[in-house]
Amino acid sequence: MVRFFLPLFIFALFAGLAIAQSETVSKDKFLGGYHMTKQSMTCEDCHQEKAPVAGKLKKQPVKDLDICVSCHGKLEDVAKLKPELEPNPHTTHEGEIPCDECHHSHSQSVSYCDQCHAFAFVTP
């Protein structure tokens, strides 16, 4: 009996946590929250089968950043949105920098460039 119910119980527990997690994320001030509330995206849209990250502190990185590209376009397209930026953080001497080096979905975004340079970009 226990053998039968224990996995079910764990599943239910995790599902509950998952829902709670998804609610937390949707309310936060980071990009993840914006995408969930304003763009009606779900955890699975980005994390796929690894989502939701029920109650774990361990990071579940988004492996396929094509999800970003599918709406925002490639780096060069994004660069064209703000042609006045000099230098442009989306066309850099480092090449194809993954989106999430700078744009974080569940924490404060950072400026990768400013690890070395003094551009002081404000990253959404």
Partner: protein, 567 residues
């Protein structure tokens, strides 16, 4: 252990910071004369295998000449400036207006065409031809490199388009610059020279592709590594007919039946030339972050053959840090892109701020900022900004890598550095103090400060900056985005010296890249290209020096190969 007399002289020379061995030996002020016996023979002799030498050799070979290219460095540690650089070059769009490119180039090279500039930096006739070549060659550079290897990627250069948008032709030229890469993404923290082909970026990628092209011509181009040229050989008629080179301790005479091309770089590590040519304290007040092989030997050889000099003190420079690892008595510099970052300021040797720090690293002022650093105080008769000091806090050091670890002296193993900068703190290269007072004491003890720093001035500078951060209004007009206070101890200081990647001045040449004497007459059979005879004598757009290797290297090589053999 007994010290031989020679050993003693060597040590004494090193201690005194005397530059080249040549300075110790009785040398002739003239080029060598025709020897009785020639050890090697070729059509065109190229001296120096960097970017310019490679392109000169290839052009001469493609024109049917046999080429010997001698290079001072060993093959295993062959790090010319082109390789150690960001690998940036200019290549306007193919549909850019040629006349506009020419106008833009003339303004950049010599200040020609600028309404406020009466005297141009160089001979107008030569500049006309330099600019003509620039307009013809540069648009083809990107397609050329791409055609060498489809894996090549032209990433964003330093400036978007023309760095000087108000110069004539800047708009219509459709100016572009590219940074070289073979990798989709360059790792800024991985040493360039250790990367496999698919991970190469910057100058490492570009020079790899260039050297592959040189190798393809191995039946025509013979490369001799560890073979420094010592003297040009001149005939009685005053023609350059070869050179004396040294290999494994032996002097060899190489006969060049057509011509000699000098492409062996600037004088970054020539102690005497540094003092002679650079503004301010040329030896101790300056540093360069490129190859240590550039010791001015080509300039000396050309001068002995009668070459005129031109704007020798020009260098695309700013303020950079340097470490007490010395070559020829001169400190090694490091590229320092972090100056101007939040949580940091720059003060002079007495502790006062003097400029908007962002100008040090932003384009295009970063190529001229050294002018601020070599300022002479006409009342105190001192160079108060030599060195200057980058003052930063704990938050800064923990979020920033001071230097670029993929290129330059760190990327090529000349200088050790760690991503967290802590190794440099341990070595005492970065000074540390728990309070600004204790940091001031550490600076005062530094050999270049000589107790000139006033702790009160330093504290006042930090306080004023921090107040400006709060008010979002900086005393020196710094970009508000970079205004974050120097607040969180411990505090740190890093010396900054005038300097940059390379020198640009040297020997004068005409539009055909023939070296000329003070009368403007070409020295027969002597050609040149690259930083030893840079054409960028007024202002500089990032990547200009590599571009000139790719434009004028071929012109020098082609013209050398077109000479009628003298024997």
């Amino acid at each position: 252990m007994a010290v031989s007399r020679r050993g003693f002289i060597k040590q004494a020379a090193a201690a005194a910071g005397v530059a080249a061995v040549g300075a110790m030996l009785p040398g002739s002020a003239q080029a060598a004369t025709e020897p009785k016996k020639w050890d090697m023979e070729t059509d065109v002799l190229v001296i120096g295998y960097g970017g310019a030498g490679a392109f000169a050799a290839m052009a001469a070979a493609d024109a049917g000449s046999n080429v010997i290219m001698v290079e001072k460095q060993a093959e295993a540690t062959h790090y010319p400036n082109t390789r150690m650089s960001g690998g940036i070059f200019h290549s306007p769009d193919l549909d850019g207006d040629k006349e506009a490119i020419k106008k833009y180039a003339k303004a950049m090279f010599s200040g020609d065409g600028l309404p406020w500039k009466k005297e141009h930096e160089m001979n107008d006739k030569y500049v006309e031809e330099f600019a003509e070549a620039w307009a013809e060659y540069t648009p083809k550079l990107y397609p050329m490199v791409k055609s060498w290897d489809p894996a090549f990627k032209g990433l964003a250069g330093v400036s978007k388009g023309a760095a000087f948008p108000d110069f004539p032709g800047a708009k219509e030229a459709k100016y572009q610059t590219y940074r070289s890469s073979l990798a989709d993404r360059i790792d800024a923290f991985a040493p360039g020279y250790l990367q496999p082909k698919e991970k190469k970026g910057n100058g490492e990628a570009l020079f790899y592709l260039i050297s592959e092209q040189v190798k393809k011509r191995k039946d025509k181009i013979k490369i001799c590594f560890e073979t420094p040229a010592k003297d040009l050989i001149m005939s009685e008629k005053g023609e350059v007919i070869g050179a004396v080179v040294e290999n494994a301790g032996k002097k060899l005479n190489i006969k060049a039946k057509k011509a000699v091309v000098l492409t062996c770089g600037g004088y970054e590590y020539n102690y005497g030339m540094r003092k002679a040519f650079l503004e301010g304290p040329g030896a101790e007040g300056w540093a360069f972050y490129g190859t240590t092989a550039n010791e001015g030997d080509g300039i000396e050889m050309a001068m002995k053959a009668g070459a005129a000099l031109e704007k020798v003190g020009k260098a695309a420079s700013r303020i950079i840090t340097a470490v007490p690892i010395r070559h020829n008595g001169l400190r090694l510099g490091l590229i320092t892109p972090c100056v101007g970052k939040p949580g940091s300021i720059v003060v002079d040797n007495s502790g006062k701020r003097y400029a908007n720090e962002v100008l040090v690293t932003r384009d295009p002022s970063r190529y001229f900022f050294y002018k601020e650093a070599v300022k002479f105080d006409i009342m105190k008769l001192a160079y108060p900004r030599s060195p200057s000091w980058l003052i930063f806090d704990d938050k800064f050091i923990n979020s920033t890598t001071i230097t670029d670890m993929a290129i330059s002296t760190v990327g090529y193993g000349y200088v050790p550095w760690t991503k967290d900068n802590q190794d440099a703190v341990k070595r005492g290269w970065i000074l540390k103090g728990d309070t600004l007072d204790s940091l001031a004491k550490a600076i005062q003890k530094h050999e270049d400060n000589m107790d000139m720093l006033d702790a009160e001035s330093l504290k006042a500078a930090v306080e004023d900056f921090n107040k400006g951060c709060e008010a979002k209004k900086d005393t020196f007009g710094r970009d508000p985005k970079t205004l974050s206070p120097v607040a969180q101890g411990p505090f740190y200081a890093l010396p900054l010296y005038a300097g940059g990647p390379n020198t640009k001045g040297g020997i004068m040449s005409d539009g055909s890249r023939r070296v000329v004497n003070w009368k403007g007459e070409p020295i027969p059979r002597l050609f040149t290209a690259g930083e030893i005879s840079s054409v960028l004598k007024f202002v500089y757009q990032g990547g200009g020096n590599i571009t000139e290797c790719m434009v004028f290297g071929p012109i020098a090589g082609k013209n050398a190969a077109a000479m009628k053999p003298w024997s």
